[in-house]
């Protein structure tokens, strides 16, 4: 196996586990009866026999079977697991639409401030003035960025933001006495869009894309009738192109009193350049864990604030923080759809996002998006000969290339390319999405990867393409990855022979 011999500053991780490359036993296998980590505090209270206080019909007879490990074994186990895990801190993560940019460490310090980490969510308003100020400030900044009028931060992730936005849409139409049944969604949309539409009680209707990768506005006009509650769009869309005819789309939807929903998955392309509010959108969700650099935690926490235009503010979830004359307060909007989270949302994520915005400021945020777009176009051009872009136009923050050439010539698929990249120290791009492009590789480098990293990533991709030119090379690509903590994983077996806990093992 040839390794790409380019080591970029801040770019290329080694994917070879530093040590302990073999599988790590589970914590349950490390357990030794009677062993434990630290001691609990002695709080000075006499210990009560549970059986004297609690109805024995409900009392457990044996202690819950949790692992019994020393702190030393615990630390070794989970540290070894981290050695089997890729992360942004280790290297580039060019997953399209996921916006895996570097997460500045200053936000970790902010998240750990005692006034951030230790506030009880049910404390009275007088005790949470700092948090309410933080949320109101973040709201003001987000509204300036999106061009909207009011925002809720309660949704815990993008998908929950989508559903919250759709319920606001529904509440609006009920309030207006509109009889609406369906929501339009482009065929390139993320899967959460149609799933959220179904959960909102509307029907999802697919709008086709045209040959340029944009919404087919003629087809759209044909689908718009009085039963259309609205449309969900990502702009730039999932193939990385700006929907140039957004004004026409907005007009067509607004004509039937429909609402435009903006999926903020791709907001990173346009901060400080253009604003969803100015494009005619009525409801906008953002992903703080994408655009505003809060860490994704291996699959969450996210945060999916929803911003709306003035006439929809009355429907926002409650409680809603407001800046008052004498301090900050919580109110329930007049026609609120109600609560969407146990408390206020993923609050610590707000603190991280605000810290990021304060650090960059207006100018820095504008540069952020511009360089994200520059990086995407640069990388697209570097690999275009081997991985033709699905669409020719200047892309925004991401682009979709295809590995269909390799498939035709050598049977090497996008999946093989992805796995071979792992061996070269890069995370793979998003593959097989969007569904409308054959053998899609959806690549989003983000602004925080250097030119050297992009050069190294392109070199790795080109090397993989050239390997696909001969039979032996193609075979080795089918066998990739080899240098990673696990070689190619049998996904089908996991589903066929379902073992989702240690206790379910034979």
């Amino acid at each position: 196996m040839t390794q790409t011999e380019i080591f970029a500053a801040g770019g290329k991780a080694t994917s070879i586990p530093m040590m302990g490359g073999g599988p790590e036993p589970t914590i349950f296998e490390l357990s030794v009866s009677g062993r434990r980590s630290g001691a609990l505090r002695n709080n000075g209270v006499p210990l009560v026999d549970p059986a004297s206080v609690i109805d024995t019909a409900y009392l457990r007879t044996e202690p819950l079977d949790l692992p019994e490990v020393s702190e030393r074994d615990l630390v070794a186990h989970f540290t070894r697991l981290t050695h089997r895990q890729y992360s942004v801190d280790l290297g580039a993560y060019p997953l399209g639409s996921c916006t895996m940019k570097y997460n500045p460490k200053l936000a970790d310090t902010v998240a750990g401030l005692p006034g951030i980490a230790n506030t009880h969510p049910l404390a009275p308003v007088s005790a949470i003035q700092g948090w309410l100020e933080l949320i109101c400030t973040l709201e003001e900044y987000l509204l300036e960025i999106t061009g909207m009028d009011a925002a809720t931060f309660a949704p815990a992730a993008g998908a929950q933001g989508e559903l919250t936005g759709l319920l606001i849409m529904k509440a609006y139409h009920r309030h207006r006495g509109n009889q609406k049944t369906k929501v339009l969604i482009p065929d390139s949309a993320h899967g959460t869009n149609p799933a959220s539409v179904t959960l909102s009680g509307y029907h999802a209707v697919t709008v086709p894309s045209n040959a340029r990768g944009l919404v087919d506005v003629g087809a759209l006009r044909g689908l718009v009738d009085n039963e259309v509650a609205g449309i969900m769009l990502t702009n730039p869309n999932t193939v990385g192109l700006f929907e140039e005819e957004i004004a026409e789309i907005a007009e067509a939807i607004h004509e039937v009193d429909g609402l435009l929903y903006y999926d903020g998955a791709n907001l990173n392309a346009i901060v400080g350049v253009a604003r969803p509010g100015d494009m005619g959108f009525d409801i906008v969700h953002s992903n703080l864990h994408k655009t505003f650099a809060t860490p994704h935690g291996g699959g969450g926490p996210g945060s999916g604030p929803v911003a709306v235009v003035e006439r929809l503010a009355r429907f926002l979830p409650g409680p809603y923080p407001v800046r008052g004359e004498t301090g900050f307060d919580l109110i329930q909007p007049e026609n609120s759809i109600g609560r969407v989270h146990s408390h206020f949302g993923n609050a610590v994520v707000f603190a991280r996002a605000l810290a990021f915005m304060l650090a960059l400021g207006g100018d820095g945020l504008g540069l952020m998006s511009r360089v994200a777009v520059l990086n995407a176009n640069y990388l697209k051009a570097l690999i275009a000969e081997h991985y033709p872009p699905a669409y020719q136009a200047t892309c925004m923050h991401e682009f979709v290339a295809t590995a269909s050439n390799l498939k035709r010539a050598a049977g090497v698929r996008a999946l093989d390319v992805a796995k071979a990249l792992l061996d070269r120290g890069f995370h793979a791009p998003t593959v097989y999405f969007p569904l409308i492009v054959d053998e899609a590789l959806m690549i989003e480098p983000t602004e925080t990867e250097s030119r050297q990293t992009l050069d190294a990533l392109a070199a790795a991709l080109i090397e993989i393409a050239s390997m696909a030119e001969n039979g032996e090379g193609a075979r080795s690509l089918h066998e990739a990855p080899q240098l990673t903590p696990a070689s190619r994983v049998d996904e089908a077996r996991a589903a066929r022979h379902l073992v989702t806990t240690w206790d379910a093992k034979d």
């Binding site: 895990q85 506030t119 899967g191 140039e244 926490p301 777009v373």
Partner: protein, 448 residues
């Protein structure tokens, strides 16, 4: 201004000329001029790291957070437990913190295996064999449980005990508006027990909290009988820390068990990010919301982990999916697995006993001292309501000045039937005898 863009100006210029462009704004010709902002964002100028931290600290200092100066007796779904160094250090490792969703299992074995271990622990807590890789919080876990029950039974009537966390009930009602479930609240009587409706027609599920919001252990077995008769599912919203002492929801017949996992090693964090625990039976696995990690092998035959039964999920089933969950709370799930492993079998049992002992000490002391009327003093693990001579919210406000977050006022949107105006008091293992003694003294002063 801070910037995390590594490019030098020369690099930007040369990359632009490689693309045949002159300026960064040339990248945006696809955006019609009328839609361009054409001005800088009206945000303050960027700051250096130290300035950002100082500014954030200034804002944060306006909170009266739990500390030695603000001793926390509030619960209501968020508890001030002790946290430990090893779990915090491990949970803060950047390989866990800065990873994405494990789409490429070959380089995500760390997160996947930690989730597999988490799922095992949650299945032991809940007594149910299938647990997902987490949901957003307790409320969202309950919403998903209700949706699952509706999908399973093809009925739309959902009966929730009034003694389920009122915020969760509100959240269920909000999301019920979409598909149009009929949400019905079964009231609690003066003893704190739920009075279930006699009419069982068309019930998709009964939702009972265990222990309930007031701390009472309800007759879950009786709700199970009711559910079986009605052909409905039993959904149990349990307190994971109470499972150190109590039988699991699975043992009591739950079809779905959900919980808020904040107590399992997550700081108070002003309510988030928290952790939604979700477990169910093997029979219902195809309707499981969210991600599920399964064990498998790699091509070398080594044990490996991967997200499985993916065909349930929104990115594949799209509009036919029964849940839209994508991102969840993976990091918090990993924290919980590490925290529970640190506590271990003995430590977790001891934790429950210490909470119970503290709760018993405080409620007994308040009874002795004649502080209000302690309700449901017997039976609860770490929380109980007390009726005071004054509105609870006033007492909470005054106690702030004395260095205590006295509890949660069961008022307004959090009022529960016969307990309206009571103060809900929580005691964790973190509360010392000295703190409780002083708390009762101060409370006596305030109530004088």
């Amino acid at each position: 201004m801070s910037s995390f863009v590594p490019h030098t100006e020369e690099e930007i210029s040369s990359m632009l000329s490689f693309l045949g462009l002159e300026s960064l704004d040339d990248l945006y010709t696809a955006i019609p001029a009328a839609l361009r902002l054409g001005r800088p964002l009206g945000l303050p100028a960027g700051l250096s790291e130290v300035e950002v931290i100082e500014k954030m600290d200034m804002i944060a200092s306006r909170n009266r957070s739990a500390s030695r100066e603000m001793i926390c007796f509030a619960g209501g779904g968020a508890y001030d437990h002790d946290l430990y160094s090893a779990p915090r250090a491990l949970g803060g490792r950047s390989e866990f913190v800065t990873a994405y969703t494990p789409y490429q299992p070959e380089v995500a074995q760390g997160v996947l295996q930690a989730l597999f271990e988490y799922q095992t622990m949650v299945s032991r807590l809940s007594g149910l064999p299938i647990s997902n890789a987490s949901l957003y919080d307790g409320a969202s876990a309950l919403v998903e449980a209700v949706n699952l029950a509706v999908a399973r039974t093809r009925r739309s009537r959902v009966v929730l005990s009034e003694a389920v966390n009122p915020h969760w009930r509100e959240t269920v009602s909000t999301f019920a508006m979409g598909p149009g479930h009929e949400v019905e609240v079964a009231p609690v009587d003066a003893s704190g027990s739920t009075v279930w409706p006699d009419d069982a027609q068309g019930v998709a599920c009964y939702v009972v909290a265990y222990p309930n919001y007031l701390g009472l252990i309800e007759d879950v077995a009786a709700v199970k009988r009711r559910a079986v008769e009605a052909g409905a599912l039993l959904v149990v919203a349990y307190d994971p820390v109470a499972m150190s002492l109590l039988k699991s929801p699975g043992e009591l017949g739950a079809d779905v068990a959900v919980a808020e996992g904040q107590s399992l090693g997550i700081p108070l964090s002003f309510g988030g990010p928290y952790l939604g625990l979700f477990s169910t039976t093997m029979e219902l696995v195809r309707l499981l919301p969210g991600r599920l990690v399964g064990e498998t092998v790699d091509t070398r035959g080594n044990t490996a982990y991967v997200t499985t039964l993916r065909a349930r999920e929104q990115d594949i089933r799209r509009e036919k999916a029964s849940s839209n969950v994508c991102t969840n709370q993976t990091l918090m799930a990993v924290w919980a697995a590490i925290h529970l492993s640190w506590l271990g079998r003995q430590g977790f049992a001891e934790l429950g006993r210490r909470c119970l002992s503290g709760r018993y000490y405080l409620s007994s002391l308040m009874e002795q001292r004649g502080i209000g009327e302690v309700r449901l003093g017997s039976g609860s693990v770490r929380e109980f309501p007390v009726s005071l001579q004054r509105p609870a919210s006033e007492v909470v406000e005054e106690m702030l000045g004395r260095g205590f977050l006295a509890g949660v006022a069961l008022e307004g949107r959090r009022s529960i039937g016969a307990f309206e105006g009571s103060l809900l008091v929580a005691v964790t293992e973190k509360r010392t005898k000295a703190e409780m003694d002083r708390y009762v003294d101060e409370l006596a002063e305030v109530l004088k």
